[in-house]
């Protein structure tokens, strides 16, 4: 075991996979010599060689297109999109190509690519460094969407994503790269070293895609969250003094429906929390699934806490970013309902 922050855990996953599989290649903007703007690919080029981890032109569409071609050849490319806000130029490649290649070719070709991208707000990133586009990808048949919330999960999930033979969108909550931010922006940042999930095995291990984690067991209400919102939700539960069950989805597609349904049927109440804007966000799908499968167990309407239906604003960071207080209010409504 070593103590790692999320950046180090992701770096370790990439390092291990480069070492284990000669077909793994890493590329993206500034990921080579420099090691990435967030240091996730730090020293990988020096250790594994120029052709294993290299810089790419500033072209998200080109990065994903070439990765798909490499995947069709038999490589296992792991590409980085510098910010999830900038993944949209590659959207056509992801939706029209990566997601459908296996289906449309009758299984002759497929794209075992992993697209890593820092996402999410809480860093005064404004409109183009804060986005949470997971619902765009969850809606696309053929893509998998994975979001870790701890260093331990980040490493194990990234290794699974790389080994997966389907295209995986791997969104990294950059607000918690260095520490488990719980929404208390007026308090000093906490490093990962003070959190038990910073204990990361140095060797290879995996966490299966499609398995949620019950991060806090409880009997009164179920909170569904992922990414930074897992920590915000845990904080809210603590502040409210509620016996809530907090589930970190970890993977949106495939979704661990069994864990969700079992929890809500037990607690009979549900709050869904995400940073992305509310309307047609991933929370809407979660809400629909819980309603369909737990209707006769529910004691109250399902609550959603989400970003507002606006572009991500700069000066209003803490009015936009879902706070523990908003999660507390939603839990109270659900408990009183």
């Amino acid at each position: 075991m070593a103590v790692m922050n999320m950046i180090q855990a992701l770096n370790a996953a990439l390092d291990i996979m480069l070492g284990r599989d000669p077909d793994v290649v890493i590329f993206g903007e500034d990921v080579g010599y420099f090691g990435g703007v967030f240091r996730v690919t730090n020293r990988l080029m020096a250790k594994h060689g120029l052709t294993r981890c290299f810089d790419a032109p500033l072209s998200e569409g080109g990065i994903v297109a070439t990765a798909i071609g490499m995947g069709a050849y038999g490589l296992r490319p792991v590409v980085e999109i510098q910010f999830a806000d900038y993944i949209l130029p590659a959207f056509d490649q992801l939706v029209s190509e990566a997601a459908r290649l296996r289906y449309r070719s009758g299984g002759e070709f497929w794209a075992p690519i992993t697209v890593r991208s820092p996402y999410g707000g809480g860093i005064f990133g404004g409109q183009t460094h804060s986005a949470s586009p997971e619902a765009l990808f969850a809606h696309v048949s053929g893509l998998k969407t994975v979001i870790p919330s701890t260093p331990y999960d980040a490493k194990g999930l990234l290794i699974s994503a790389i080994e997966d033979d389907d295209p995986v969108i791997f969104l990294e909550p950059k607000r918690i790269y260095n520490g488990p931010f719980d929404g208390r922006h007026d308090q000093p940042a906490i490093p990962w070293s003070q959190h038990p999930a910073s204990a990361v095995p140095e060797d290879y291990y995996t966490i299966p895609l499609g398995k949620a984690a019950v991060v806090r067991e409880g009997a009164e209400i179920t909170v569904l969250a992922y990414g930074t919102m897992v920590h915000v939700s845990l904080r809210a539960v603590e502040e409210a003094g509620v016996d809530a069950e907090v589930i970190d989805l970890r993977s949106l597609v495939p979704l661990d429906i069994e864990t969700i349904v079992a929890s809500v049927r037990k607690t009979r109440r549900c709050v869904i929390v995400h940073e992305a804007s509310r309307f047609a966000g991933f929370g809407a799908e979660l809400l629909a699934l819980v309603q369909e499968r737990c209707f006769y167990h529910l004691e109250a309407p399902i609550e959603r806490v989400a970003g507002w239906d606006t572009p991500y604003p700069h000066a209003f960071e803490w009015d936009y970013f879902p706070s523990p207080a908003r999660v507390v209010s939603a839990m109270r409504r659900a408990l009183e309902g």
Partner: protein, 409 residues
């Protein structure tokens, strides 16, 4: 007061519209034999005249002349002729089958058969072609079973793509033919990535990719060109300039200002402009670019100048936007007639043998179509409905299993 005149917006227009006489005077066609053949490993900077030339081999009498004349075994010429004829007859038959309601859609490649057939025979089976939807001759030249094509077009129970794709969007990995999709240009960069992978693995395979001239306007054309140049990818990037993108003439894609081959210069890639109706010229250019790629000198851009003789698809009527006799006025002639004339000039062919071959391939197409119809045409036969839910992922997740069960399967 400004001394400038008011601005005016320029909208390119083709030289002739329905009712006008065809006019190809705007097409630059250098004299046969005047376009030089640089050594394969020449530096790109020494070849910047090439995109403005035109690689041609066959003269008007079918005689092969000039520096690009390839050394080709006559077996290849015969295979090429057969593939082109087979493609044309197949196109005609399946277009007709659409009119009879046997399939939902079809696209012919009439007039463009040399490009696929010649490049296909010039490359190896382990090389990968990233085709457009107008490249059936590439597959046919490799003797891909016609019946599999028919089954795909009919989406019947034996469709290799299991009823998931519109007609002619073939996929044939074993024949070096990448999965086609309806959206244009988005596989151009896949070819570059595939070629980069071959180089990464120290392999000897190369990729060839095609887009139409209309698609060069897509961003993914620029992306692919950039990546191909930056990483010296062993790929041949081809533009099939057939003058028309549905109803838009090639000037709408930028072809009225310069040649499409000249796009290469800005990326630092060699650009060749080639007579796409000249089987020998297509072969020579493909061989040149393939040798360059295989010797680790990277990518080449080739513009094949040709003409889309048919409508864009079964859903298109070209009489609404261009003169009906425009195809007949195309100065580069017909690829099949030109190769036929060449073989006759070589003393290897005759009208009688040609007619016999036409009969033979017609019968071959009829047999394949009949066999496909016996399995079933669209709506009569189809693959197992379970196939609708397979291959979305390597393994279906619970949603797909539940949804399949909802259909009772």
């Amino acid at each position: 007061m400004s001394n400038h005149r008011a601005l005016s917006l320029h909208i390119p227009a083709p030289p002739s519209r329905p009712g006008d006489a065809p006019d190809f005077t705007g097409l630059t066609l250098p004299e046969l034999g005047t376009t030089r053949r640089p050594e394969v490993l020449t530096h790109e900077a020494e070849m910047r005249d090439m995109p403005y030339g035109l690689v041609r081999v066959l003269d008007e009498n079918g005689v092969a002349v000039g520096p690009w004349k390839p050394a080709l075994a006559s077996e290849i010429l015969h295979r090429g002729l057969r593939a082109m004829l087979l493609t044309r007859v197949f196109d005609t038959h399946m277009f007709g089958a659409h009119r009879e309601g046997k399939n939902s859609f079809y696209m012919k490649s009439t007039g463009e058969e040399a490009i696929g057939a010649a490049s296909s025979l010039a490359l190896g089976r382990s090389d990968m072609c990233f085709p457009t939807y107008r490249m059936a001759s590439y597959l046919i030249a490799r003797e891909y079973p016609l019946l599999d094509m028919v089954n795909q077009i009919y989406s019947n129970a034996a469709d290799p793509l299991k009823g998931r794709q519109m007609p002619i969007l073939y996929s044939a990995r074993a024949y070096g033919f990448y999965s086609i999709a309806g959206n244009v240009g988005s596989r151009f960069g896949h070819a570059v990535g595939w070629a980069m992978a071959s180089a990464y693995k120290h392999d000897d395979k190369i990729a060839i990719a095609f887009v139409g001239e209309g698609t060069t306007a897509e961003g993914n054309f620029h992306e692919a060109m950039t990546f191909a140049a930056v990483y010296h990818a062993p790929v041949i990037l081809c533009i099939t300039n057939n003058q028309w993108a549905i109803s838009s003439f090639q000037g709408i894609a930028g072809g009225a200002e310069t040649t499409f081959a000249a796009r290469a210069i800005g990326y630092g890639l060699p650009g060749l402009r080639v007579d796409g109706n000249d089987f020998l010229a297509v072969t020579a250019a493909t061989q040149w670019a393939a040798e360059r790629a295989r010797s680790n000198h990277g990518a080449t851009l080739i513009e094949f100048v040709t003409y889309r003789v048919g409508g864009h698809s079964t859903s298109d009527d070209p009489a609404r936007y261009r003169p009906t006799d425009e195809p007949a006025g195309w100065p580069l002639g017909d690829p099949i007639e030109r190769l036929k004339m060449h073989l006759i000039a070589l003393g290897e062919w005759s009208e009688a043998r040609h007619q016999a071959l036409v009969c033979e391939v017609t019968e071959q197409v009829r047999d394949a179509a009949k066999a496909g119809e016996e399995i079933g045409v669209l709506g009569v036969s189809r693959p197992d409905r379970r196939e609708m839910f397979e291959d979305v992922y390597k393994e279906p997740d619970w949603r797909l299993i539940e949804q399949r069960r909802e259909l009772g399967i």
